[in-house]
């Protein structure tokens, strides 16, 4: 097998706070190949953003502890010097944030900010060259009148337009990996689709790999091939997008599917939220973190509340559940 672009192994992220340690990510491992698209889904607070940030070493705070490894083209990002990481940021790995309204610096024109993103990693670029590059990138993301627009400030743009600018900025250095952390959540429904399309188109053009973080399974269906499902800082299921939708193996994934209105399927047209709330990351329950909300936990004689389930192969997917594989598969079948 060829070396994956990024290989994350046993990633842990802890935040020391006044109330205690927040164990935001606990032993996450996954790979992503060149040009591949991967989605991370999960409820709010499950650790998606923290995982993504860890890849770029963007977790800040007074007491942050990150362990594990994140090999990018064979080099461990988590072990690099600050300067080495900086040189990767924005050039090899770029990021798109959730809220385009706050992601742009209000004090500088958008042209300036896009140009800056390029100039940081390309010293000695002439003004003229920069300007052309910026104009080109901004028209590529579909912003009309680029000549006028580059001299405007972020507040003069709509939310969708701003996200286009953020994308233009992220892609100007043709990154090998693009991390998009809920790029459409803050946008109008009509704009959401356009932005997703744009990301896909850009990805195709540049051949970048994309990690798309979302809690919207509808979005996942549109653009990705492989899905990681997170719950309370752990991966609970890893599967192809088809399998996640057609045969979700983990009870949590199933609950998650039930709770959203799928975009392309009539089957799950009613909303059925998962009962209960996610556990506190400071005071984690023993055993499977999902056990208190799980319909099947009772049938396992307390195993769920004492033993942490590891990811295991269930059909084509991987699932972290104590239910015997056969039972899981039969549950899948029953659902179909």
């Amino acid at each position: 097998m060829t070396q994956p672009l990024l290989s994350v192994r046993d990633l842990h992220v802890n935040f020391g706070t006044g109330e205690g340690d927040v164990q935001a990510v606990r032993g996450v491992s996954f790979d992503i190949g060149r040009g591949e698209t991967l989605a991370i889904v999960g409820e709010s607070g499950s650790g998606k953003s923290v995982t993504a940030s860890a890849i770029m070493r963007l977790n800040f705070g007074a007491d942050v502890r990150v362990s594990g490894s994140a090999l990018f083209e064979g080099q461990d990002i988590l072990a690099m010097s600050e300067e080495e990481v900086r040189l990767k940021r924005g050039s090899d790995i770029a990021m798109i944030f959730q809220d385009p309204l706050t992601a742009l610096n209000p004090f500088y024109t958008v042209g300036n900010q896009i140009a800056e993103a390029y100039a940081i990693h390309h010293h000695g670029t002439s003004k003229k060259e920069l300007r052309d590059l910026v104009l080109d990138s901004i028209s590529k993301v579909g912003i009309p009148e680029p000549l006028k627009r580059i001299n405007q400030y972020p507040h003069e743009f709509s939310g969708g337009m701003r996200q286009r600018i953020v994308i233009a900025m992220a892609l100007i250095n043709r990154p090998k990996l693009l991390i998009a952390d809920e790029p459409t959540t803050a946008l109008d429904v009509t704009v959401q689709a356009q932005i997703l399309e744009l990301i896909s188109a850009m990805q195709e053009e540049h051949g970048s790999a994309v990690i798309l973080i979302t809690h919207d399974l509808g979005v996942v269906a549109e653009v990705t091939k492989r899905v990681l499902v997170m719950y309370a800082g752990r991966l609970v299921e890893v599967a192809s997008v088809e399998d996640v939708f057609s045969s979700p193996t983990h009870p949590y994934t199933r609950g998650l599917l039930n709770s959203v209105r799928s975009l392309d399927s009539e089957r799950h047209s009613h909303l059925e939220p998962i009962p209960g709330t996610p556990p506190s990351l400071i005071d984690l329950p023993s055993g499977c973190p999902f056990h208190s909300r799980c319909l099947y936990a009772a049938s396992l004689n307390g195993r769920c509340s004492t033993e942490v389930p590891e990811l295991k192969a269930v059909g084509n997917s991987f699932s972290a559940c104590h239910l015997p594989t056969a039972e899981l598969l039969s549950l899948v079948k029953a659902a179909q």
Partner: protein, 339 residues
């Protein structure tokens, strides 16, 4: 480029509008100030009269000085005096104060405008020097404290803040005089000399007051800067800046400080304006003959003409500073400009 022209025109309207409001505000403030002082129980006519005063003398002086006239008329003559000068008293013993006349102080035996002209440079010297110092130290220490959060610069900043907040300025002033002047003789006792007369003496007279005032205000600015920076550091656009791969220095200056200091600049403008109205306690402790001391002496002696004038001068400073700060904010923050 059309775009720039538009921006210039925009700025022009913005500045014009703010200036107009400032002028209107000044007018309102002047009427109000004048009215307040005319409503005070202290009788300006009685104040021109000594111990052996007789009611007849007070009445005669009242007429002579125009305090018997209705308020509007008094205000009118005052305003006219500002633009055209005014003579106080009618016979040969009358005293002429040329424009801009702000009244005549019978207690000081001088035109108030010349008193202001004499004291203002002192206050400006104190204020500007202290301002430069406290902005420098406030921002530098505040930035260090924010960037080295929880480390020694942060602790030092906390010490500064505690000193600045809990020690009254007269105490720090007195302490500094004791230490540097009386006990160690490092510096002469502050005795103000104009900068044009002797820059060295000017400097040595002001260095203590500058530091004391700066120490006091710096604590506020350390806090403002530190908190501002920490707040901005959590902003999404700063994270995006980091994600772009911005070098740290550039990130701090272009992203963090720019955003954190813009609101501080406006606060600083107003603070400076207040200080220009007279640093009362500091001027008293260090015996610097500035506007603040003039005002305090006028309060003690109920010298109304001086009080009216110094109040107006302070108000002018504050109104101008407000307008200036607004306009400056417009330049600094593109979001404000387009509103």
């Amino acid at each position: 480029m059309t775009n720039t022209n538009e921006a210039v025109r925009y700025m022009f309207y913005f500045v014009a509008r703010r200036t107009f409001f400032a002028v209107v505000l000044l007018f309102v403030v002047s009427v109000f100030t004048f009215w307040i002082f005319s409503a005070l129980p202290a009788d300006p006519a009685a104040l021109t009269c000594g111990k052996n005063c007789r009611p007849e003398v007070i009445e005669a002086n009242r007429v002579r000085l125009g305090y018997d006239k209705p308020f509007i008329e008094q205000y009118g003559s005052y305003m006219k005096g500002i633009f055209a000068g005014r003579t106080y008293g009618e016979d040969e013993s009358g005293i002429h104060c040329s424009a801009p006349s702000l009244g005549y102080s019978y207690d000081r035996h001088e035109c108030v405008s010349s008193l202001v002209a004499k004291t203002l440079p002192v206050t400006v010297s104190i204020a500007v020097g202290a301002f430069v110092l406290w902005m420098f130290f406030g921002i530098a220490l505040g930035t260090l404290a924010a960037l080295r959060r929880g480390k020694w610069p942060d602790h030092l900043a906390t010490v500064f803040s505690v000193v600045g907040i809990s020690f009254p300025s007269f105490f720090l002033g007195l302490l500094s005089v004791l230490i540097f002047v009386i006990w160690t003789n490092i510096l002469p006792f502050p005795h103000y000399v104009g900068i044009s007369e002797n820059p060295m003496k000017w400097f040595t007279a002001l260095i203590l007051p500058w530091f004391v005032l700066a120490l006091l205000s710096a604590s506020t600015y350390i806090r403002l800067t530190r908190n501002g920076i920490l707040e901005v550091m959590n902003e999404e656009f700063v994270r995006l800046g980091i994600a772009k791969g911005l070098p740290r220095k550039k990130l701090i200056v272009k992203y963090v400080l720019r955003a954190a200091l813009t609101p501080i600049a406006t606060i600083a403008g107003i603070d400076l304006a207040f200080l220009l109205g007279g640093a009362i306690v500091t001027e008293s402790v260090f015996n610097l003959p500035g506007l603040g001391k003039l005002t305090i002496a006028a309060v003690v002696n109920s010298d109304l003409p001086i009080l009216v004038a110094t109040t107006l001068v302070s108000a002018v400073f504050i109104v101008i500073a407000n307008a200036f700060v607004d306009i400056m904010y417009g330049f600094l923050d593109p979001r404000v400009r387009s509103k």
